[in-house]
Each structure stands twice: as structure tokens, then as C-alpha cells.
């Protein structure tokens, strides 16, 4: 399947048709939003299997709860909030399971790919993003990586816009330090 164009049907009509049990409308709604949900899930999980699981679970929950969607935010924002919640829970579950059952030394590697040794700037930055506190990391990924606005982030995470801005600013400050030290090493 190639990337699907946005459905020409207005979203509210599409939602009504999904609620009425129209399978074609379900597919159209999925097609319109799956890329954005998958991208966010992948950026947070850093793993194709987990991203796929989280995306599937997001849509399963969304279809189950669509009747509760009041239209107070955009459907895409509502879906993002489900995706973030699913991803947080999923990552926590996997991390706890590994820590408890496997006693792995590096439980933090959930949500990151093996990148502990290379000196490359992108690798170092990725490590630094992985190590950010969860709130900072989420806001940074959503805003600076995926291009969400602070309004969307606030609605998705259920936080004030000011909180989103503050967390982004702190995240950037920490990452700038990493960049600056990297630049310093290069000069040296």
C-alpha cells in the first residue's frame, strides 16, 4: 500500500460513518492518520516492532472509544494523545519486564538503538535525547523533531502551553551543552 491521500470526505462525516459501522470509513480514517501516528510512535520507541505494536493499539483503542470523541480538539490531536499514552505504557511495561525478569544492565536501552560507542555527533545527540527526562524528551521530539505546535503538544499531553515551552527550552539547553562539548572536542 502506498501512502494514501487525505480523504476528500469531511472528518466529522467520516467519524459519523465509522460510528455507524461503515468499514470503508474506518479504513479511510486509518489511512488519513496512520503515518503521523506511526512516526510519533517510532520516534518515541526507536524500534519498528514496538512502533508497529503501539500504532496498532492506538487505532484499536481509538475505534473503541470514538464515541467519546467530542471534537474539542482535532482528531489528529486526540489520536496523538492516545498514541503517547500507549507508547509510555508500552515502554514502561517492557522496561519493567526486562529489569525484573532479565536483570539487564542497560534497561534504558528501551526506546533507543545500540549507539553507545560511536563518536558521531548524531549518535551522541541521540544518546543525549534518550537520556533526557521523559517530559523533556517527549516535548522535544514532538516539537523539534515532528513539528507539533505547543498548542497541539499541550492538548496531547494535557499540559499548559507554558509548560510545553518551558520543557522544550530546558531540553534544548541540555542538548546544546552536548553539542558545545562535541564542538569543543573537535576543535581540540
Amino acid at each position: 500500500m502506498t501512502r494514501e491521500p487525505r480523504s476528500p470526505v469531511p472528518e466529522s462525516e467520516l467519524i459519523d460513518r465509522v460510528l455507524a459501522g461503515d468499514p470503508a470509513a474506518e479504513r479511510a480514517l486509518y489511512g488519513a492518520h496512520v503515518d503521523r501516528v506511526y512516526r510519533l510512535a517510532y520516534r518515541l520507541a526507536g524500534d519498528p516492532t514496538l512502533a508497529q505494536d503501539f500504532t496498532q493499539e492506538t487505532f484499536i483503542r481509538a475505534f473503541e472509544r470514538l464515541r467519546d470523541f467530542r471534537g474539542e480538539s482535532a482528531l489528529s490531536t486526540w489520536l496523538s494523545s492516545i498514541a503517547v499514552s500507549v507508547a509510555f505504557n508500552g515502554l514502561r511495561k517492557v522496561k519493567r519486564f526486562r529489569t525484573r525478569e532479565m536483570d539487564l544492565d542497560d534497561a534504558k536501552s528501551v526506546g533507543s538503538v545500540g549507539r553507545r560507542s560511536e563518536p558521531d555527533l548524531k549518535v551522541r545527540l541521540a544518546r543525549a535525547i534518550d537520556d533526557l527526562p521523559k517530559g523533556y524528551r517527549t516535548v522535544f521530539v514532538m516539537h523539534d523533531v515532528e513539528g507539533y505546535t505547543h498548542e497541539e503538544i499541550g492538548a496531547t499531553l494535557g499540559v499548559e502551553i507554558g509548560t510545553s515551552k518551558a520543557q522544550l527550552s530546558r531540553a534544548r539547553a541540555r542538548l546544546r551543552e552536548v553539542l558545545a562539548s562535541h564542538a569543543g572536542e573537535w576543535k581540540a
Binding site: M1, E4, R27, Y30, G31, V34, D35, Y38, R39, Y42, R43, L44, A45, G46, D47, P48, T49, L50, A51, Q52, D53, T55, Q56, E57, F59, I60, F63, E64, G90, K93, V94, R96, F97, R98, R100, E101, M102, D103, L104, V110, S112, V113, G114, L121, K122, L125, A126, I129, F140, V141, D144, V145, R172, L175, R176, L179, A180, A183
Partner: protein
């Protein structure tokens, strides 16, 4: 280097962070459809409510079992994380003569077991994909396997769909438990491909009702 230049570099470098590949849209859609279909056929609306209502008081019983079991873990010699499940399956039979309570305790224990199996298989698949195979996975698979077999052997197992999920789970766990500690790459691929093709994890999840019944001791 000034802040603007750093921000520009930061922005550029951040685009490569966990860069997503092309989404497997069709595969995900098929899994979503299958999972929703399974949930629909398993839980007609009214029954879900009744099921949860029926579960309300037995959850207390299950919590007591979990607590007793937690105390046992703290004082006993074994600390295996999956042991509570076996206790939850066997304890009601020994202590309760009420068949409804037995059956509900069985259901609660099964839900906990499936939630644990879900977390295990999700972690296993993610690691397998990165080519990582830890010998401790096989140990955890063996623990889950023995609980799965206990559940399959229980006379309280009357739901054919649940039986089918548990039987499939048993097969998967047997495969993982028998993985060689080295050179298991091909078998690892076979297991993960099999999980994917059969859409087993969505089916497993569809057997776990949402809500308080999916509480797993030690997880929130």
C-alpha cells in the same frame, strides 16, 4: 559557536533521531481488523459490562491472593516473578468450595498471566529484531510455559477461544524455551516471523479484557 548556530545544528541533527522507516500500513491494518474482530466476537457490549460487574468483588479476592502471594515471595526462598500465577490458579481450589469464585479467580489469574506474556513477547520480539538473544529469555519463557500448562490443565478452562490462545502461547513459549544460547539466529527468525504471520500478539491482547482485571501485581 553562538546559540543560533548551535540551535540550527541541533535542529538538523535531531531530524535523524529515531528516523522512522516507511510504515507497514497494510500489515498493521490487517492486525487491527483481526484484533477488533476478535474483541467484537468475544465481548458483546452487554456482556462486557456484566463481566466487569461480576469481576468487581472477585478482584478483591484476587488482590488478597496476590497479597498473600507477595508476602510469600518476601518470606519464601523463591522470587520467580511468574510464581503468583500458579498460586492463584491452585489456591482457590484448595480454599473455596464456591465454583463461581473458583472460576472468577481462574479468570483473573489468566488475565494477569496473559498480560505478563504480552509484555514478555513484546520485549522478546523487539530484542530479536535487533539480533539480541539473551539466555535469560529462555528462563522466563520456561516459567511462563509452566504456568500456561497449569492453566490449560485446569478444569476451569471452559472458554474455547481462551484455550486456543493458551495453546498457541504454549507453542511459542516452547520454541523460545528451546532456543540454543548461541547460533539461534535462524530459529529466532522463525519464531518472530511466526508470531507476525499468525498475528498472535494482537490475538493475545484481545483475550485480555481492559480495565481492572488486567491488573498485574507489581505493575501499574
Amino acid at each position: 559557536m553562538n546559540d543560533d548556530r548551535l540551535d540550527e545544528q541541533l535542529h538538523d541533527a535531531a531530524q535523524a533521531y529515531n528516523l522512522p522507516p516507511e510504515p507497514p500500513r497494510d500489515e498493521m491494518w490487517e492486525n487491527i481488523r483481526a484484533a477488533r474482530e476478535a474483541r467484537r466476537s468475544r465481548q458483546p457490549g452487554a456482556e462486557v459490562i456484566n463481566f466487569r460487574r461480576r469481576l468487581a468483588w472477585p478482584i478483591g479476592l484476587a488482590a488478597l491472593i496476590a497479597l498473600a502471594f507477595g508476602l510469600g515471595r518476601m518470606t519464601g526462598p523463591s522470587s520467580r516473578a511468574t510464581a503468583p500465577i500458579a498460586s492463584a490458579v491452585t489456591t482457590p481450589r484448595a480454599t473455596s468450595s464456591n465454583p463461581a469464585a473458583q472460576n472468577t479467580a481462574y479468570t483473573v489469574a489468566t488475565v494477569q498471566h496473559l498480560a505478563r506474556a504480552d509484555a514478555f513477547l513484546t520485549g522478546f520480539r523487539a530484542d530479536a529484531r535487533k539480533g539480541r538473544h539473551d539466555a535469560q529469555f529462555t528462563g522466563a519463557a520456561r516459567d511462563l510455559l509452566s504456568n500456561t500448562r497449569l492453566m490449560l490443565d485446569s478444569p476451569d478452562l471452559t472458554d474455547p477461544r481462551l484455550r486456543s490462545v493458551l495453546e498457541d502461547l504454549e507453542l511459542v513459549l516452547v520454541q523460545i524455551a528451546q532456543l540454543p544460547s548461541e547460533h539461534g539466529g535462524d530459529q529466532l527468525d522463525l519464531i518472530t516471523d511466526g508470531l507476525k504471520q499468525r498475528g498472535f500478539i494482537p490475538r493475545l491482547r484481545s483475550a485480555i479484557p481492559a480495565g481492572p482485571a488486567s491488573y498485574v501485581p507489581g505493575e501499574s
